[in-house]
């Protein structure tokens, strides 16, 4: 019997058992329905004990304090330069017109007029809308945090590359780190550092390091052997090889890492408003809490513009291929752009000196579109109110509440068996063990019911996202031009900090469960659309031609050739989709949910490290389990298709 058939048989048996247990719930002993108290392990207390040991007895506090003092000093420098906080070097604030000109020139140098217009325009918009100070508060943190993360990530990446042993230890740590929700990072930082910009910067640094490590490792491993050999034959020492051959050759990957660091920084800095980080995020949080839609849309646009600008600038830098400069005898000829930039800066400073408007736009002078937006939105919302109200009613009574009740009703032992069945069918005994281990730990943590609510929100949202995303992806993939456009939109949407997605849903659905689900659905649909298009477009044309020649209709080709071939890629999208929804569910807790996210917020406000870490890990385990299953499945499909 082939192993897969065998695995399927065991899977079916486990499934049948799970169904029996669920059906016979009334007959089950209570210990199999909810995890009994004696089974629940005090993980939180252990973690707290370990934490306090680190904090007090190992003197880690001193180390973190020293580190945070350095960060604090740098923060005050950027704060002075960008928005004129009265600290050393007391030069600032740099007039906004100079910052805008700098962004403009950077865009032009990296990619040309269009990027220049985007980058320059973003800063002009920020200034004219009177959001300069908030935006600069946000930017000043990114300016400090990103270089720290890049340096830390580069160093750790090089170490991991040098020592396979370290790499092996680091890999699972990175896996967990990248599936921990944002809030799980905040709680320990609050314990060590407290709240405020300093803590915000540090949590941002920690949060954005992992992708840099990954990209550094990847880049270093991809350097062609012959280039290294050429370096060796040139008599390079190890250090010279690393700094002058390997790292420069891995430039593109490393800079993609920098791009990811910057985007992670932005996402985290906005969320760090929950721990008292001033800036755009805090403003947005306040406005959303008081349901000022027009003003929060303004801030949202700013955040989106900033995200797109930072992303495009850093990506252009990463993907720029070296190009020879026309030899020019004059220094001026060789440094034309530099000279123009300096001239613009001087011009800007002079202008700002005489016309204060160009130094800082006062609140009174600021433009605002909040009024019209509010009016427009009011009209729009009133117009579609019947639809949203019906949708809300329908979703809540017919989808959300029944599903939630069903999830909560399931005996935990049946859930574990069910997962074992799925795991076994996909990846045999190992996958079954992995699934049971992850969810078993969640059961042991004592947060079973809360976890089930999170799972229910995620499953419902991902299913709805798939219902929307799959047809959209299939439709977009029909024409190359359309596919390209939709992909561009998806790429852009993925650069937005997750917090942004809350604005439209609160606008439409108010503060309710439906709003949470809607936010998660939108956020989770993006990767599904994206990978569906990518999967469908990368099906080899010979296969489609072969299907055409066999007289298949377009629908038959889609169902029997294109979708099966695209499935492995689409599964990657599903994987990302689940990850994204987990993150989003936790963030959406601030709208009001009853899941792990809400407990996490409570842990944050009471600075309960142990509880926070346990909850964070519970979320991470859900993500890791899904990742394991989907990766296994996708690998199996790929093997079956001979890809």
């Amino acid at each position: 019997m082939p192993p897969s058939a065998h695995a399927g048989r065991v899977g079916q048996m486990l499934l049948a058992l799970a169904v029996c247990m669920a059906m016979g719930k009334a007959l089950l002993p209570p210990g199999l329905i909810r995890p009994p108290d004696w089974l629940i392990l005090p993980f939180a207390d252990w973690i707290n004990a370990a934490f306090f040991f680190l904090q007090n007895d190992l003197g880690l506090m001193a180390v973190t304090r020293a580190f945070s003092d350095v960060v604090d000093w740098l923060l005050s420098v950027t704060a002075n330069l960008l928005y004129g906080k009265s600290r050393w070097p007391n030069l600032g604030p740099i007039p906004w017109i100079v910052v805008a000109a700098t962004a403009f020139m950077a865009g032009y140098a990296l990619k040309g007029w269009r990027l220049a217009a985007l980058a320059g325009g973003t800063f002009v918009w920020i200034a004219l809308m009177g959001q300069w100070k908030w935006a600069m508060e946000t930017l000043s943190v990114i300016l400090v945090a990103a270089p720290f993360s890049v340096a830390l990530g580069l160093g750790t990446g090089v170490l991991a590359w040098r020592s396979p042993w370290f790499d092996r230890v680091l890999n699972p740590v990175l896996n967990i780190a990248q599936s921990l929700p944002h809030f799980a990072y905040m709680i320990p930082v609050v314990v060590f550092i407290g709240v405020g910009p300093k803590a915000g910067a540090i949590v941002t640094i920690i949060f954005s390091v992992p992708p840099m490590i990954r990209m550094t490792l990847l880049g270093l491993k991809m350097v062609p052997e012959e280039v290294i050999e050429a370096g060796k034959m040139s008599g390079a020492t190890r250090w010279q090889l690393l700094t002058r051959v390997r790292i420069p050759t891995a430039r593109s990957q490393i800079l993609i890492g920098v791009n990811q660091v910057i985007m992670q920084c932005l996402a985290m800095v906005v969320l760090a408003s929950f721990i008292g980080m001033p800036g755009l995020g805090q403003k947005l949080l306040q406005l959303l809490q008081s349901l000022k839609i027009g003003l929060s849309v303004e801030i949202g646009v700013t955040i989106v513009l900033l995200a797109v600008t930072l992303d495009r600038l850093s990506k252009a830098w990463a993907l720029r291929l070296p190009e020879h400069a026309e030899p020019s005898p004059h220094w001026l000829g060789r440094n034309r752009l530099l000279v123009i930039w300096l001239a613009l800066c001087v011009l800007g400073v002079v202008l700002a000196h005489f016309v204060p408007y160009f130094l800082e736009v006062e609140r009174k002078q600021a433009l605002s579109v909040a009024g019209p937006i509010d009016a427009l939105m009011d009209r729009f919302i009133r117009l579609i109110a019947p639809v949203t109200a019906w949708l809300r009613w329908f979703l809540i009574t017919w989808v959300l509440i029944p599903t939630r009740d069903a999830y909560l009703w399931m005996p935990f032992s049946a859930v574990l068996l069910l997962l074992a069945a799925v795991g076994w069918a996909i990846g045999g005994v190992r996958s079954a063990a992995v699934c049971v281990a992850y969810f078993g730990l969640i059961a042991l943590s004592g947060w079973w019911d809360r976890a089930m609510i999170t799972v229910y929100t995620v499953t419902v949202s991902v299913l709805i996202a798939a219902l929307i995303g799959l047809p959209l992806g299939i439709w977009a993939a029909r024409r190359p031009v359309r596919a390209e456009r939709v992909l561009l939109i998806c790429d852009t949407a993925q650069t937005f900090p997750s917090f942004i997605y809350l604005i439209p849903v609160i606008m439409l659905f108010g503060v309710s469960d439906v709003a949470v689900v809607a936010a998660v659905v939108v956020f989770a649909a993006v990767p599904i659309v994206r990978y569906t298009i990518e999967g469908l477009c990368s099906v080899p044309p010979e296969l489609i031609e072969a299907a055409d020649m066999s007289g298949a209709t377009r629908r038959q080709t889609l169902w029997h050739v294109r979708l099966p071939m695209a499935l492995p890629t689409m599964l990657v999208g599903a994987n990302q989709s689940v990850m994204f929804s987990l993150f989003m569910v936790i963030i959406a807790a601030f709208i009001g949910t009853q899941d792990l996210g809400q407990e996490m917020q409570r842990a944050l406000s009471t600075t309960d490290v142990g509880k926070g870490v346990v909850l964070g890990l519970a979320v991470a385990f859900m993500g890791l389990m899904t990742d394991h299953l989907i990766t296994r499945w996708s690998e199996a499909r790929k093997r079956a298709l001979g890809l």
Binding site: E226, V227, A230, M233, S234, L321
Partner: protein
């Protein structure tokens, strides 16, 4: 035909001139195995030559080779026969699995990191099959790279790099990046880089493969000129037999990691050690390779008439061969001393391509 052993007498005299022989690189029983556990696999092979591979690739097998100072050794063989790997063993770019490689009397396996770096900085240059250029550096910086590693200051190293670029005909491209050059131009950058340090030992892995025939010819001429000028030891890999004949003092032919024959070009053509070598040289016009000296036999009788120079190829002698009527023609070395006689019939057979 005479017994091969007989022919070996006093053979390469015309080739080596009056050079003092000195071995620069010597390989003893060198093996290189790629795979999960090469050392164990080698030990297994010693006991049982038929041992299963288990994912191992035997790239170089039991190679014995001595390369003399100023010699030009051409390595040939089918794709995957281990040529590049052999050259990497000689420069310790790969660690050998078994045997010893000695460079100028020193076993390179025993060199420390610093010693190895020093050896490469002072003595060795290499041109890579895939060029191995640093993508983020300009052409000029690529060529100056080995000098930079040695710690030379900017001005001297750029001056030297410019000279090298002129030599390979790339002036005006100093500021370009490798990706902006054609394959042939990139290859020439690689050649210039390997020459920048004036290496004594020069490894070239298919250095002219990407060049067009005209430039290739030019580079070969330039190459011969340089070699004559600088007395470098050269190990040269090529797939092109004509090129090998033009350049080589000796040719080593590899098959499945073994050197099946290593000899002068005319001996390889005249006396292939195996069928494989014979097939390798089947297409060659032997008259262009074989020189009078290599067809010499001891004279039974005193020589009659004018002697021919041993270094001339049969092709060069074609007209004289047809015109002459002597049965055995005396052959003289560079000093003018008669070293033996050439059987005219045998030489005509070579000229007409009749198998001996």
């Amino acid at each position: 035909m005479a017994h091969p052993a007989q022919r070996r007498v006093g053979l390469p005299v015309w080739n080596k001139g009056h050079r003092v022989r000195e071995t620069v690189i010597s390989c003893r029983n060198v093996s290189k195995i790629f795979g999960p556990d090469p050392v164990r696999h080698l030990a297994e092979l010693k006991v049982n030559p038929q041992a299963p591979l288990n994912g191992h690739v035997h790239a170089v097998r039991e190679v014995d080779l001595d390369i003399e100072r100023g010699e030009m050794l051409v390595v040939m063989g089918l794709s995957g026969s281990g040529k590049s790997t052999l050259v990497r063993c000689l420069s310790r770019l790969v660690e050998i699995t078994g045997g010893h490689v000695t460079v100028e009397g020193q076993d390179i396996a025993t060199l420390s990191d610093a010693g190895l770096i020093d050896l490469r900085r002072r003595k060795m240059g290499m041109v890579f099959q895939g060029f191995g250029l640093l993508p983020h550096r300009t052409v000029l910086d690529n060529v100056a790279f080995p000098l930079e590693m040695r710690g030379q200051d900017r001005k001297t190293r750029y001056a030297r790099a410019r000279d090298m670029l002129t030599l390979v005909g790339l002036t005006g491209r100093e500021g370009y990046f490798p990706r902006e050059l054609s394959g042939g131009q990139q290859q020439r950058v690689g050649i210039a880089r390997s020459l920048a340090v004036e290496p004594d030992i020069w490894f070239l892995d298919e250095p002219f493969s990407a060049l067009d025939p005209l430039i290739r010819r030019e580079m070969q001429d330039e190459f011969l000129r340089l070699k004559g000028l600088l007395n470098k030891t050269v190990i040269f890999i090529t797939h092109d037999f004509d090129e090998a004949l033009r350049l080589a003092d000796r040719i080593a032919i590899m098959k499945d990691g073994r050197i099946v024959q290593c000899d002068t070009p005319d001996r390889i053509v005249l006396h292939p050690a195996t069928d494989y070598v014979a097939r390798f040289t089947a297409e060659i016009d032997r008259a262009r390779v074989v020189r009078a000296g290599s067809l010499v036999r001891p004279l039974d009788e005193p020589p009659e008439g004018a002697a021919w120079a041993a270094t001339r190829t049969i092709r060069d002698l074609a007209r004289d061969l047809v015109a002459d009527s002597r049965k055995v023609i005396p052959v003289a070395d560079a000093a003018g001393a008669v070293i033996g006689g050439l059987n005219r019939q045998e030489a005509l057979d070579v000229l007409l391509g009749v198998a001996g």
